[in-house]
Amino acid sequence: MPLPSIVAILSLLAILASGAWVALGLMGVGIFSLEVFRTIPVEKLLAQSIWNGISSPELLALPLFILMAELLFRSRFIDGLFSALEPWVRRLPGGLLHTNILACAFFALVSGSSAATTSSVGRITISELDGRGYDRRLTVGTLAGAGTLGFLIPPSIVMIVYGVMSQTSVLKLFTAGIVPGLLLTACFMTFIAVLSKLRPGIVPQGTSDNSRIWRERLQGMPSLLPFVVLIGSILGSMYGGIASPTEAAAVAVIVTIVLMALERSLSLSVLKAAAVGTARTVSMLGLIIAAASFLASAIGFLGMPQAVAAFINGMNLPPLGLIVLLMLVYIVLGSFLEGMSIIVMTIPIVMPLVVHAGYDKIWFGVFLILMVELAQISPPVGMNLFVLQGLTGRPLSSVVRAAFPFFLIMLCFVFFLAVFPQVVSFLPKLL
């Protein structure tokens, strides 16, 4: 690897370890390496990249869903939701932790973004699960892992970007994401179930009174109504041809406000608190997105992608070897770059290698989405980690530890898909 790339990576680690804010640190690394190694007007490139990074219309779903979650968090629906769900999962080992996973999978159906999924579901579930005595690490870990499903389960912003750039049918990509998405959900749930059997302490030991379970289940139904209405109106507007996927996020905000008004939990102070809460999250994530966009641009200028491609090309690996090597490259890239940047930066370079090795573009799309999902939860730069750090106020290292088992599960899952590619490709072939 050429010198500029090595300097960039080392200075990134140094500046992050120094405790500087992540967004500013990423910008600093880009500024530093370009000032040293290239003769271009850096401040112009910086301003332009910041502008480009946050001016994508597809990003709009993120602030809207964050606002929705900030509002919901202040409603009285949440308590009712968990009381209603509890009898349904009482017999499952792992209890309400499964609601984290299932809620993420459900929310992934309405949201194309992984950060939006994690922050919306997390905003709603974390304090509840904490209050009920669930293991904090697993609460955070399940959110980190399952939150990434936002990209894999359609609709998905990164799939659309991949589809357009690789000239692949977005519809087929969406279809291809369904089976892996469900399988991964099942993997996460199995992990929680097995773990809670092995270590019973992680789940609160409540009254295991199952005699009136059906009655409790039915009694809780009305509390689910607001969420049925909410999810239904988002899905309905999206699949009923009323709104585009991003527009549906605005429907979510409006429906939430109406529901809260009906429930009489809407007040000026609630609106104000929700506004400031939204601003804090939107600002934190937006600055990181802007910074990551600049860093990706800087890395492109330093010639890193070409160097990596030339290196891989020179190795003449067999197809599975190529995929394993790409996994390693993406894990490294994913540790310090943001998902969308990884896709935009690498497709033009990696795509020809993969197609040449005989892989299906749809399969590679799903592979790439999963690698981007891994990037969301790998330190030091991972959007889901930041979202959860913001939600819980815990140090990044503890969020990273909480997410790690789920990182491993996903890694194994990607390898499984590399060995059995038909898991991905059979459904879109039916189209």
Partner: protein, 173 residues
Amino acid sequence: MIFLSLVDRLSRALAFLSGAVIFGIALLVASEIFLRNIVGVSLSFVWEVSVYLHMCAIFLGAAWTLRTGGHIRVTLLRAVMPRLFEWFATLIGLVISAYVTNALTLLAWGYYATGRTSGSTTDVPLVYPAAFIAFGSLLLTVQIALRLVHLAMGRPVELDSVREEGANAPIMD
């Protein structure tokens, strides 16, 4: 002293504005959906204006987010030498933030001087969003600088967002 609290109050007001702007985006997009489906009219400016509003919201909220500890950082080494760590991190942040503010101000100035517009259906003069962005970035830089003042005076560098707003409660630990 008065300056410190003035900056805090301004930061807080802009964070509130930032959130209100996101509300505004929701209302804009919702009106577009309504008009398109019921009246058969599409508001051609909605996407573009929403994007600019979002960009402004990100930067308008930046200073208050910093003041209430909402920006992410890696604090792995803080335990070793807490005070030195804070000074060092804040100084690095200040340098970068100042560089960024300068770059964004030059961008806004360039847009103003050339009169450049988005060149799309709406033809928004780009100086408007760019000016808000540059101002938000400037206020962020000022907050970081004041953090050094708080450090020197031995006062807490971050306000508690829960007490301030009931905003993002740090729920654990």
